[in-house]
Structure formats: structure tokens, C-alpha cells
Symmetry: C2
Subunit: 273 residues, 2 copies
């Protein structure tokens, strides 16, 4: 009488594998390691409902069936269901009121920059308009971040960026290590800005961009080698050249956008106009 409906939740081993996709070769303390907390049951419900909402299966304004009905339909207890709903409500996806039930909120209330919401958005076929919006935002924020980083970067951050670049050179973007190095590079760059708000925002966008690389992989067209672009950014930052860093980063983002769009066109040729 368990939650067979939830599919991915049920298999214990599956969850373990998902949680274990952490980076190899991490020598940090076990506590700090990204040991993913195996998704709980309510976590699975969040994911299921979150994806359903983001994919448009439940449109804004739609009323979900009552707690008892829905919980029974999912074969979970009301507690688990309610905790999931609370999380969705915390992210602005739904709102619950006595007598009125819980309804899907209009899209402009959604916390689209929440990492989980982004993950749910990219779980299905991503919306091309939304991807374009994200890249537009990225093309605003990241060059500015690079400019600030060029002004404030300390030796420590520069060293980390250099290390990440070396790792990118060693592995390619085709490997998980390479992509991890890419993330590390941007992460180190953001840390160099010494701006918490920028870091949080870029972390969200980075996660989203990460999902797009998944599509690049799926398409046959190999993306161009992004290493030279990254190196230009690094050189400018190391030289303290704010304008140069911003311009180099602008180009980097622009190329990433083109690659992603090409990949999406290749994956879903119909949608390309």
C-alpha cells in the first residue's frame, strides 16, 4: 500500500545513486561534502507536483483536489502531502486557504530563481522563451560580476580560478569532471566579487545553465571549445582590467547562448523558427 504512483521514490537504490553523483576526488571533510540527503517521501511529492505545475499540467488558478483526496490518490499520508504543499507554497507556486482549497498561483508569483523551481522547470521540455530570458539576465549579471571581480579579486580567488581552468583544460566539457571545473571557475569568479547577493543569484543561474548543458550533450552538434573564452576572462581579471573582463564575459555568455539554442534546435527542430 505504498506510493507506487510516485515512481522514482520507491526504489531505494535509485535514490542512492542519485545522491551519490557527487564529485569524485573531493578531499574536503565528509561533513562539508555534498552528500545529498536522500530524497524523502515528501521531497518526491514536491518534485512530482513541482514539475507538474512548471510543465503546465496544472495551470495557474487550477484548484487541487482536497488534502484527503489528493493524499489518498498519491497513497501517502496527509502529513507528507501537507509538508510538500507547504514547500510549494514557500516557493510561491501555490496558496492554500480554508474553504477555498489550494490553488496554483499566477506565474508572476513563482520564485523562478529558486534552485528547486529551476530544476523543475528544466525537468521537462524547457520553455524556449524562458531559456532566452535566463540568458538575457545572465548576459546582464555575469559581465558586471566579471568587472567587479577584476577590481576586487584577491590572490586566493585568482588561484582557484587558475586551478579550475587547468582542470577544464585537462578534462573536456564532455566529462563530469570538466563540467565541475567549469562550475568551479564561475564560482571562484563570483566569490572574488565579495558580494553575497551576486553570489546567490549567479549560483541559481549557474544551476540553470547547467541544465542546458544537458541539452547540449543530447544534441549531436558538439559545442565549440569554450576554453579560450574562459582564459580571456581570466587574463583580464588577473590584469585588473574591468572593461576587458566584462567584454570577454559578454562574449562567453553570447557564445553559450548560441550553442544552447543550436542544441535546442537540433533536439526539437519543430520549435525552431
Amino acid at each position: 500500500m505504498l506510493a507506487a504512483v510516485l515512481g522514482p521514490v520507491q526504489g531505494k537504490t535509485e535514490q542512492v545513486t542519485v545522491a551519490m553523483v557527487t564529485r569524485v576526488g573531493e578531499t574536503k571533510r565528509p561533513q562539508d561534502a555534498v552528500k545529498g540527503p536522500g530524497r524523502r517521501l515528501h521531497g518526491a511529492i514536491e518534485h512530482k507536483l513541482g514539475v507538474a505545475i512548471l510543465s503546465g499540467e496544472y495551470a495557474p488558478g487550477d484548484k487541487l483536489s482536497g488534502e484527503v483526496a489528493f493524499a489518498e490518490e498519491l497513497n501517502v499520508s496527509r502529513s507528507a502531502y501537507r509538508e510538500a504543499i507547504q514547500v510549494l507554497a514557500a516557493k510561491g507556486l501555490v496558496e492554500s486557504r480554508p474553504k477555498a482549497g489550494t490553488r496554483v498561483l499566477p506565474r508572476h508569483r513563482w520564485n523562478l530563481l529558486d534552485p528547486d523551481v529551476l530544476a523543475w522547470a528544466f525537468a521537462g521540455e524547457p520553455d524556449r522563451k524562458f531559456v532566452a530570458d535566463l540568458f538575457e539576465l545572465r548576459s546582464i549579471v555575469e559581465p558586471a560580476a566579471a568587472r567587479i571581480a577584476a577590481q576586487r579579486a584577491d590572490k586566493q580567488s585568482l588561484k582557484e580560478m587558475k586551478t579550475a581552468l587547468a582542470a577544464m583544460r585537462r578534462h573536456t566539457l564532455a566529462t563530469e569532471e570538466g563540467r565541475a571545473a567549469d562550475r568551479d571557475f564561475h564560482k571562484a569568479l563570483l566569490q572574488a566579487t565579495a558580494n553575497d547577493a551576486l553570489q546567490v543569484l549567479a549560483a541559481s543561474m549557474g544551476a540553470a545553465v547547467n541544465w542546458t548543458t544537458h541539452f547540449k550533450q543530447r544534441s549531436r552538434a558538439l559545442p565549440r571549445n569554450p576554453l579560450p573564452d574562459h582564459e580571456r576572462v581570466y587574463q583580464a581579471i588577473a590584469a585588473g582590467d574591468g572593461d576587458g573582463a566584462a567584454e570577454a564575459m559578454r562574449i562567453l555568455v553570447q557564445l553559450a547562448l548560441e550553442d544552447t539554442q543550436d542544441a535546442m534546435d537540433a533536439t526539437d527542430p519543430e520549435a525552431a523558427r
Copy 2:
């Protein structure tokens, strides 16, 4: 023990053990304090814990007392406490694991751009560094948004901005209507960009900026009249002048930052160096 900690929201009366001296005039209902869908019990717990964490009362790495213990301490059921914790976990503030307990996550895991988290951050004395970071981000995003708006604004958005400007002129920023008009202006500007990601981000920042106006009010120094700055932005957008709009918005944000810093200096002279 102390249900009073949770403020206005509280239920049971028979839970009180000793010295239940009902204070007269305490018959206020949750609706009195909050508008719209009044905060539920678990909402109050979220707020209390969220503020405690953001203010540093619970430092990253700290372990919260167990569910039973903490729930009993707050005089709430375990269910309500758990739902609150799930919400905090959804915003990246804490993480719960069996046997290990619930711990406050490191600051870089917090969703600092979540509207609720921002509200909690500004519930106490705001961190000056964080305010500076937010304004730096705002000075990156909003001018760029204004530039895009100048390129894409349709008649509808322009009309809304014009209406908001008129309202700002009629009332001042000292009134709630005036501040609402200010928000409407920025909201209309963002809508003109036709970029969902930008809209969500700016909405969060707008909420944060709104909290800072609270401090401007608290200080004696009246902020300068921001109307001319807004009008310059509008004129540039209406004329389709992207560079002009960006520059005008840059100045607007810069002045807002100076006003806010002055207000914070006046409120807390010690921290000013």
C-alpha cells in the same frame, strides 16, 4: 510554557498552566496584524525561526533541539513545527537528517533573494554590508532593465508608468499611496522588459528596497524628492533612448543608495565610520 513568544497567533487556552492572568484588551485577532490570508501558526514559527537565523541568533552549523523538545518549548504540535522546518529547509536555511538532527546551513546555501528571507533579514537591524551588496546588484540589474524597457516598451506599459508617475506626484513618498505608486512604476518598467526572470529578480529586490524605505522614514533626514529622477527615466524610455534610460536609472539607484546609507547612519551612528 510560553505561547506568548509566538505573538498574536495562538490557540488553545487550556494549555496555560500557572498564572494565566488573561490580560485584558488582548483579544486581538490575527487579522488585525496582517492583511489578507492571516498568518497561520506554522507561519508564525517560520517567521520566528527565520528571523532568529538571519539575525545570527542561530549560527550556521548550530544544531537545533530535537523536534519534540523544540515543539514543546514553543507550545505547538510537532506537525506545525515540522511544517515550519520544511519551509525553512526549502529556502536553504536549514537541513534535517535522521539521527543527525536539524542544523543551520552555511550562509552561502541560503536563498537570500527569496522574498521571505529578505523580509526576515530586514526584520531586525539590517546588515550594512548586505544592504550594500543588494544595492550593488540593483545598480547592475535595474539600469540594464531600463535599457531593455526602452527598446521594447509598448503603449500599455508606458501608460501604466505614466499613471504611476502621476500618482507619485500627487501623493508623496511619505504616504503609503505614494510608495505604492513607486512600486507600480518599477513594476510597470519591469513588465515592459517582457523578461520573466528579470521581473522575478527585480520583484525580490524591490521588496528589499521597500524595507529600506522603512529606515528612511525612521530617520529624521527627509530623503530628497525622487520624482525628477523617475521622470528622467520615463522620458528616456518613452523616447526609446536605451543609453539615456540606463544612465538615468543608474543615477536614481545611486541616489537611493546614498539616502539609505544616510538614514542608516542617522539611525545607528555607531556603525558609521
